[in-house]
Amino acid sequence: MTVRGRVAVDAPALRIDDLLGDRSIRIIVCTGAGGVGKTTTAAAIALRAAEQGRKVCVLTIDPARRLAQAMGLTTLDNTPRAVEGIDGSGTLHAMMLDMKRTFDEVVEAHSDPDRAQAILDNPFYQSLSSSFAGTQEYMAMEKLGQLRTEADRDGTWDLIVVDTPPARNALDFLDAPARLGSFLDGRFIRILTAPARGAGRGIGKIAVMGFGLFTGVLSKILGAQVLSDIGTFVAAIDTTFGGFRERADATYALLQDPGTSFVVVATPERDALREASYFVERLKADSMPLAGLVLNRVQLVTLGDMSEEEAIASADRLEDGDDTDQLTATLLRLHAQRQQIAGRQHHLAERFTAAHAGVPVTTVPALAEDVHDLEGLREVGHLLADA
């Protein structure tokens, strides 16, 4: 009889415990489409690692309230807090990202106090640092870099597990730092700020078409006030430009380090697996180390050896019988429906493994309840490891 909840995919097993036992792995990044259970997976992996003796910090982006409570996270204060109730010799810290606070800290770390204040007060900076698109991804990576530096310096942690933001698409967090970096360092900003820095510098060909016309167009679209805010902002962070860019590059390099490992999370649904596919391809293209795929919320089937067709045929034979026959028929139909769902999920999983031969996979069955406490996280960790 098939083990409950196992989708027998034709792929090597993703052995989470081997990953956690490998001391050279110091960062695990959980990623995938929205709503697939990334945060829970990250928390479960972190708890399991801690209970196997590692000193772990888990960085979550936007955990569901009860999951946050399960880890004792009640405030969003951008500081790792010790999680109580860990069995064994390891430790677990957990934190929720405060993107604005993180951004402010970067500014403060790279400017003298007066200049920092000028930046923090700038309207453009304020909307940039609290806007959702891009900043959250950038700051998640920034925070990861900070935690890693702290870990190296103080030996506080030997493993950082990070959950990625619920982006428009899961790849955004890889691109956001570079995008923001190239904006801050790019041609557009040099043009915008040309008046402030002395006309002519950096304008190049645009000067030929008429700088006045150009800024005229931009003023029309954005309004003169916006242009002026951006100009002041850029002039203020001019000296820290290099800092921003270097940090973005350093974080990117960190993600390519052999000590980093990506865990891609998906549910056995078309969209989630498509996103997982993109991600696997992208990691390969960018030489980022992939541990494997967690296939989450897989339909449980207890009676795996009885096919959908057989269950329906048997149910049909019992349909006109007595109460027990009818109850049995209903149970057989229920089983047929589960097999149908499991069959579809299996088919989708096979398509993924065929396209990405050699990518290790582990499955986690759909649980009736959400995770509310450490015990629930332990259970998920156990299911993850039981490839």
């Binding site: 698109a133 049995t328 229920l334």
Partner: protein
């Protein structure tokens, strides 16, 4: 209702529900437009067509001769549209692109991207009001997920930090005059599970706080009980008559050991009962919102064009017009 904004937790089936809604609204010879804004080409995949360009294009006909058209809105193109419509400046686009201004406007500039995307939806709504020949009877917007929806729609507050006065600010106000009006309804798609329901409840509160018009709740992928109330009690308690079930299964000619079959069916019934309990509990929380609620079943075989028609009919039967 002119503009239906469909949001929901990731994985709850937002795009599927938006498509089924567009089909249901296109019944009886109407013409509806299904818009997507997240660049995922979800509509093309759902309707099984090659990736769609940034043009309005017919993707399906509905029973009764109605039509569903689709438009994947790309922020770059929407910006060029905007330049064209408001300033007759489309030709400036290539220069702006070269220096990175288009990228800036659509990816970095806080909120601008959202103004452009919602602005496109509003332009389509205004076509209806102008009785334009190319107007649709309804626009269905497959919007960002619940966690971001209020921010996405509330473009006024989003751009206020960026532009307190000026053209973008004016444009944002125009957009808000459509979105925060009775012409618009923001629907949330949920599953009957704890986290999606909590997110839905929080989402409704957030939308209301921002003065955005909440429409209905679309409860997706439900698995109605196949067992009677009494049988569910037995399944939960593990007191189903397994010996009798084994005998019945043997009588029906199952190949496997009947006792094993009965035990496994009992286990599956217990899982089913737990699921039904969860759905019942979460349904009560949805009911407390006191909003129009539409229920769609789980389609065990997955979503294809046929399933979309089935879901659209279900929506019609629940009163979607």
């Amino acid at each position: 209702m002119a503009l239906h904004v469909v949001s929901g937790k990731g994985g709850a089936g937002k795009t599927t529900v938006a498509a089924a809604l567009a089909l249901a609204l296109a019944h009886d010879g109407k013409r509806t437009l299904l818009m997507e804004v997240e660049g995922r080409q979800g509509i093309a995949q759902l309707f099984d067509t090659p990736p769609l360009p940034y043009t309005e294009r017919k993707v399906a006909v509905s029973p009764g001769g109605g039509e569903v058209w689709a438009l994947p809105v790309d922020p770059h193109e929407a910006l060029l549209d905007y330049l064209e419509i408001f300033y007759n400046l489309r030709r400036a686009g290539s220069v702006l692109k070269k220096i990175g201004a288009i990228d800036f406007a659509t990816t970095i500039a806080p909120g601008l991207r959202d103004v452009l995307l919602t602005g496109k939806a509003c332009e389509l709504v205004r076509r209806i009001e102008k009785n334009a020949p190319d107007a649709y009877q309804a626009i269905v917007l497959d919007a960002p997920p619940t966690g971001r929806i209020a921010k996405f729609l509330n473009v006024n507050s989003e751009v206020s930090g960026l532009a307190k006065v000026g053209p973008i600010h004016k444009h944002a106000q125009l957009v808000m005059s459509v979105i925060a009006s009775p012409r618009t309804a923001v629907h949330l798609v949920t599953l009957l599970e704890e986290m999606p329901v909590q997110e839905t409840i929080d989402g409704v509160a957030e939308l209301r706080a921002d003065g955005l018009p909440v429409g209905g709740i679309f409860v997706n992928m439900t698995r109605p009980s196949m067992l009677s109330a009494h049988q569910l009690v037995q399944a939960r308690a593990g007191t189903l008559p397994l010996d009798d079930i084994a005998a019945a299964a043997a009588g029906a000619g199952v190949r496997l050991d009947p006792a094993l079959v009965a035990a496994a069916l009992g286990q599956e019934a217990e899982d089913h009962a737990a699921r039904v309990d969860l759905e019942t509990r979460e349904r009560l929380r949805i009911d407390e919102l006191d909003l129009p609620t539409f229920t769609l079943p789980m389609i065990p075989d997955g979503i294809d064009l046929g399933a979309l028609y089935e879901l659209a009919l279900k929506l019609r039967s629940e009163g979607v017009r």
